[in-house]
Point group: C2
Chain length 314, copies 2
């Protein structure tokens, strides 16, 4: 298995990406190779300066990179061979089995739509993340930002994508799929959510358990998959981030809340595209990069894209 990593992406590149790759390599199976995509000169300079030995890594060179503040589509038109796009081309041509980047999220998504491309039958891909839970059984939330205006049929499919991720990557049997809502009754919510409830109710594709309100989001083990549009999902994640900031600033037992530390998070899979793609948080440190590479390898291992292709067209 060959996992490509965008060495130029993220607030702490190239250091976090290089050091995270070294950490990841230690625990990955022998037949799994981490491939660097980036500027050879920049990579070698960093390693010479820090004395890090990366002789066991293949480097695929490109002189270009997308900056964190660059306009995604303009960047793609100007430098279609920038590392974040080149990685996806290599993925598409099967030179890589999975690809991850902590770089410009918009650019990653432009690549997801134009290079990696959606699986036929998937209306709109989505990005998922993890919601920590006191019980230890974290849930998956989908979508967390790709589609701020998701229609009911898209939300219905998110239930399916989330259920497949939960069952094939996190090995949950019959994942409990719920709709994130402002009340538990079926008539609660906005128009889109109420229509989605009707589509999800008694469906044959996955185990829909109804609406979940977020007032026990972190404490009650109620659901394995939470479905919402990308606007709401992104708000939920960012509010959780603010909570962790508050805990850290108050300096009260932050260790107990380490599960909320998004710096350590291993990236969010793009679900519904033809090959494994994982987006890391811009602020990813080496540990987060290690976890992101692991998540990518788990997705390849689980043959997630193949399973989604099969199930979505059943």
């Amino acid at each position: 298995m060959r996992i490509g990593i965008d060495i130029m992406g993220g607030d702490y590149s190239p250091g976090a990406a290089i050091e995270g790759s070294l950490l990841a390599q230690k625990n990955l199976p022998e037949d799994t190779e981490v491939v660097f995509i980036g500027n050879k000169q920049v990579i070698n300079d960093y390693c010479n300066e820090t004395g890090i030995d990366i002789s066991s890594f293949e480097i695929i060179h490109t002189a270009h990179a997308v900056g964190m503040g660059d306009h995604p589509l303009k960047a793609y038109k100007k430098h279609p061979d920038a590392s974040i796009f080149l990685g996806q081309k290599l993925l598409k041509n099967k030179n890589l089995d999975g690809f991850c980047s902590a770089g410009n999220t918009g650019a990653m998504l432009v690549g997801a739509m134009h290079i990696t491309t959606p699986i036929p039958g998937v209306i709109r891909p989505g990005i998922s993340s993890t919601v920590p839970n006191l019980s230890g059984n974290d849930s998956i939330i989908i979508d967390v930002g790709l589609n701020p205006d998701a229609r009911p049929d898209v939300l219905y499919q998110y239930g399916m994508l989330g259920s497949i991720l939960s069952s094939y990557v996190f090995h949950i049997e019959q994942p409990r799929v719920s709709l994130l809502n402002i009340g538990v009754e079926r008539e609660k919510g906005n128009l889109v959510v109420r229509s989605t409830y009707q589509l999800m109710d008694q469906n044959d594709d996955y185990n829909f358990i109804g609406n979940i309100e977020p007032n026990s989001l972190f404490t009650a083990d109620n659901a394995d998959v939470l479905v919402c549009d990308g606007f709401v999902g992104n708000i939920v994640l960012k509010e959780a981030e603010s909570f962790y900031k508050l805990i850290s600033m108050k300096n009260v037992c932050p260790d107990s809340f380490e599960m909320f530390n998004f710096e350590n998070f291993g990236g969010t899979p793009v679900l519904g595209v033809r090959a494994p793609l994982v987006i890391g948080h811009g602020i990813s440190n080496a540990k987060a990069v290690k976890n992101m590479i692991n998540t990518t390898s788990q997705m390849v291992e689980a043959e997630l894209s193949e399973i989604i292709t099969e199930k979505i067209n059943m």
Copy 2:
């Protein structure tokens, strides 16, 4: 000033409402009277049992009450004189200057639309709440559940209602009104939020400062008013509730996070109706009821409904 309180509403009625009224009475100005709306028999039984002296309170009797699980509109049709509706009738007839209830939120809102009624010119009333902030400068969030499908013109007006509340009740000069969004750039968000940005930008009615992401919601003093639709606002509040549960369950310094304890919250004003109405959380304890009565009295004092009537039609 006469403040009516629904003694029959809330999970801990009539006890919390009666005891909260006694607490409130101690700090209210002498010319402010708290009036009980509810079943005289139930009230007297409770006071006889507990030895509480309520001889200084006027009781306006009604035999009916809306249960927390009752269907709001059906309840209104069946018992239009139930305490939560009777209070609003007395308010409308100027027998009361303000009214509050920790009872069935849906019933309170049915009353708001059919009895108290919206101020002419207000497209849709909204309900606001407080977002605690580490700086001590809490913000107002509007709407937190009344309109899960708010249109851009409604959100625009929410900016105005929030700004008036912030300036006339919380005495903030030139309140900073922001749009709760998933990015700071103007082109970020869903269709409704993007259109709202265009309406709010460079408006003459209030001080719009742009988009705010919730990742510093509790830690950065960025805005005085956060505008969002009732779906998103309700999700934000309930997620905050979940944090507090988590903190309490982990038992790590919960005192530091008392600002998140919604049991103490003094209710959420319904903005845009013809007279001061405040809705309390169902789980309100006596302290919360006291705060709810205080909030109602502040709204009456500030002549909020009159100011909104004037400003909205300027």
